[in-house]
């Protein structure tokens, strides 16, 4: 069992630093396994948020060698045999302790999104949807709310404009509602306004880190931006609106 060097950020909101641990690594291990081993043997009180250990719950988001990742889906064999592994909490959210961050800002954004408002139920009692419409929305519903896309988003991370932009996760949530074939609510004004779709400058970093491989930018954010443009900036429509005073 080869021994590996781990640098783990330890601390609280008041501050902290990297602490080094040497630990055995077995074949097939993921980073979360190694953190558990450190917890059991070397640092009993190390704080790590995790749950399913199968990439389905989105709890163990952290930054591993500088990349936002799920620790449970990061296999050790993707790193060089003698490479030091550095693990730190997500930078975009306030630290609670060690690798655990306070992600409650995200829950507050979710509450602001106008809910699903379905069409009235047809006379036969059952709704009908086309498979392609279902598939489109289904991609967005794969989201496990790990918030890695929020962590990597330049608007939230580097520019700290949480006040102006809800971030990729909630653009996807908005897209899943806007593109739902049975939904009747109009969220386009809010997407342009309070949710800040214009702030995204399409660097695609969010798509790159998504563990569910949701095409956040191409299938979610860009179509929403297009809907905003169609509504507010289409010159022909604008002219027609003026003429017919719609």
């Amino acid at each position: 069992m080869p021994e590996r060097l781990f640098r783990v950020w330890r601390g609280t909101a008041a501050g902290g630093s990297f602490v080094e641990y040497r630990v055995d690594v077995d074949p097939g291990m993921v980073v979360l396994d190694v953190l558990h081993r450190i917890q059991a043997r070397l640092a009993n009180d190390l704080a790590v948020r995790w749950n399913c250990k199968a990439g389905k719950c989105g709890s163990c988001s952290m930054e591993i060698n500088g990349k936002p990742r799920l620790a449970c889906m990061t296999r050790m064999n993707q790193y060089g045999a003698s490479e030091t592994i550095s693990v730190q909490p997500m930078k975009t959210f306030p630290v609670v302790k060690d690798l655990v961050t306070d992600v409650s800002w995200n829950y507050e954004q979710n509450k602001r999104i106008p809910p699903f408002r379905p069409l009235p139920r047809p006379a036969d009692g059952s709704y009908h949807m086309r498979q392609e419409d279902v598939d489109r929305v289904q991609e967005f519903r794969k989201c496990i709310e790990c918030f890695l896309c929020q962590d990597v988003c330049h608007v939230l991370r580097d520019q700290s404009r949480k006040d102006l932009f809800v971030g990729p996760r909630f653009m996807i949530r908005l897209a899943s509602l806007e593109m739902h074939p049975l939904d009747t609510a109009d969220r386009i004004p809010a997407i342009r306004g309070e949710f800040g779709s214009g702030l995204c400058n399409i660097t695609r970093c969010c798509t790159e880190v998504c563990p569910e491989q949701i095409q956040i930018t191409d299938n979610g954010i860009i179509p929403l931006k297009e809907r905003v443009v169609d509504r507010y900036f289409d010159p022909l429509l604008g002219l027609l609106r003026k003429i017919f005073r719609r």
């Binding site: 609280t12 077995d26 074949p27 097939g28 291990m29 993921v30 396994d33 917890q39 059991a40 009993n44 009180d45 190390l46 704080a47 790590v48 995790w50 749950n51 399913c52 250990k53 199968a54 990439g55 389905k56 719950c57 889906m73 296999r75 609670v96 302790k97 060690d98 655990v100 306070d102 409650s104 829950y107 979710n110 509450k111 809910p115 699903f116 519903r141 794969k142």
Partner: protein, 476 residues
């Protein structure tokens, strides 16, 4: 939705709750139920993020704490499945029932070691996956129990026709009940016909086109690709039994979901009774929808009918807090992670898929020793988000759960559903009529007793004993 049905239900409920403005206490762990006389009066818990305690004064509690799979080493359950609901209810004087019926799902991942136990959904077999041993033998045809022979395919040819939707064909043997498949896999492995990592092969690659696999089993495709570096559209998976589900739990009234403690309710895996000795695949989701609602309705009814508001007794709160903080204040003591690992090994060794009286008694001996260790366990550091402290707090619940399962398994001297006693093979009619009940005795020790089951209402009994053809034709 394929293998994501449960996830979709979660999403829908979550979205609904968010927009209804439900209060959700994130990362708040319940530690102890408080009583006023016999009635429920409150809950003491703690916030993980701050390590501070919190007291909820409440007239009713619905336990939705799931099962206790974490008492075993190989389990599909996440870390929270520590039996905390069972233990809290037990301490409050509630009865537990059917605890001997612990379901081992036949197909958990077996390699790599770090993912051992993680679930491979039944959907793989439902969509055409077959089980093979090292010799490429489709062994399940050799394990069809007599009572299921009439409804199980007799040949591969017939099983294939069933998959294509032929109504005259019978189900493939891979879809037999979970206990049958789990025992068959165990026997194949024990007799030396297992796969390289101690399981058997689950093959869908050679049976279903790659595109269909990716579409119908997206989670499984992803899980194996990422965690085991196996492409299930090209290679077989290696699988083996994993502790998955507790059929038993808190004994509740089937109409209101209230336990034997007034004001304490339970639903889902935390509650007993719904799935008998052996849950069928997919049934826990419908259980949650139906009995989750009944629990809500039952709770509202109870609260409305309650006269005086029950009082919380401060001394009880102080005791609960003291019991928790002692763990942080000790200078020396056992490592909670090590105690947990010992427990998991003991349960895996002595309270597995097949059980004997001697092994179950060895388990009780181990549990006594582990209880002593757990009583002096120590967690270093502050209370804020302290993983060791949480682990230490969970240990008590895990031990109560493990002991309840072991004692109930000793009492039931027959093999039924998920409970297999090698020393008492076969179902026995007298045991069909009774449940094993576990509760805390007046001396603080765990008591078991056997209680006759009440007859079910006539209309439900008619459904239960109807032939499958009558059910499908709507005649029952």
């Amino acid at each position: 939705m394929g293998d994501r049905t449960g996830l979709e239900i979660i999403r829908t409920l979550q979205d609904h709750a968010v927009h209804k403005g439900f209060g959700i206490y994130m990362e708040c762990t319940a530690l102890q139920l408080l009583l006023d006389g016999e009635r429920l009066a409150g809950v003491v818990g703690y916030w993980r993020e701050s390590g501070r305690f919190v007291l909820f004064r409440t007239r009713a509690v619905v336990l939705a704490t799931g099962g206790g799979g974490r008492a075993w080493r190989i389990t599909s359950n996440s870390w929270e499945y520590t039996g905390d609901g069972y233990a809290m209810a037990y301490d409050a004087g509630a009865e537990l029932m059917d605890m001997e019926f612990t379901q081992f799902h036949p197909t958990g991942m077996v390699w790599p070691p770090s993912v051992r136990g993680i679930l491979v959904t039944e959907g793989v077999r439902g969509d055409g996956g077959i089980l093979l041993n090292q010799e490429k033998d489709r062994f399940m045809f050799r394990y069809i129990p007599e009572k299921f022979a009439a409804e199980t395919a007799a040949s591969e040819e017939e099983a294939n026709r069933w998959l294509k939707g032929d109504k005259t064909a019978r189900r493939p043997p891979e879809l037999l009940t979970r206990d049958v498949v789990a025992r068959a896999i165990t026997q194949e492995v024990n007799e030396g016909r297992g796969s390289p990592h101690g399981g058997v092969f689950l093959d869908i690659a050679s049976r279903v086109p790659a595109e269909t696999i990716r579409k119908k089993l997206p989670s499984m495709y992803h899980q194996f690709k990422e965690l085991a570096e196996i492409d299930i559209t090209r290679e077989p998976m290696e699988v083996g039994p994993t502790l998955h589900y507790f059929m038993g739990g808190v004994r509740v009234d089937s109409d209101t979901q209230m336990s034997t403690v007034p004001g304490l309710f339970a639903a889902g895996e935390a509650a007993a009774g719904m799935h008998g000795a052996n849950r069928l695949g997919g049934n826990s989701l419908s259980d949650l929808l139906v009995f989750g609602r009944l629990a809500g309705v039952g709770t509202a009814q109870y609260v409305r009918g309650l006269g005086a508001v029950p009082r919380v007794h401060e001394e009880e709160v102080r005791t609960a807090v003291r019991r928790a903080t002692e763990i942080l204040n000790r200078e020396t003591g056992a490592n909670p992670y090590a105690v947990h690992e010992d427990l998991q090994n003991a349960m895996g060794r002595y309270v597995g898929i097949v059980r004997t009286e001697a092994e179950l008694k060895s388990a009780l001996g181990e549990l006594e020793r582990l209880k002593r260790d757990a009583a002096t366990v120590r967690a270093p550091g502050a209370s804020q988000y302290n993983a060791a402290w949480h682990e230490a707090l969970d240990l008590r619940a895990l031990l109560v759960t493990a002991e309840a399962v072991t004692r109930a398994a000793l009492v039931r001297q027959e093999s039924r559903g998920a409970h297999t006693r090698v020393d008492h093979p076969g179902e026995r009619e007298d045991w069909q009529k009774v449940n094993v009940i576990v509760r805390k005795g007046t001396d603080g020790r765990m008591e078991t007793r056997v209680e006759k089951r009440a007859d079910p209402p006539k209309d439900l009994a008619a459904i239960a004993y109807a032939a499958i053809e009558d059910l499908e034709a709507g005649r029952a």
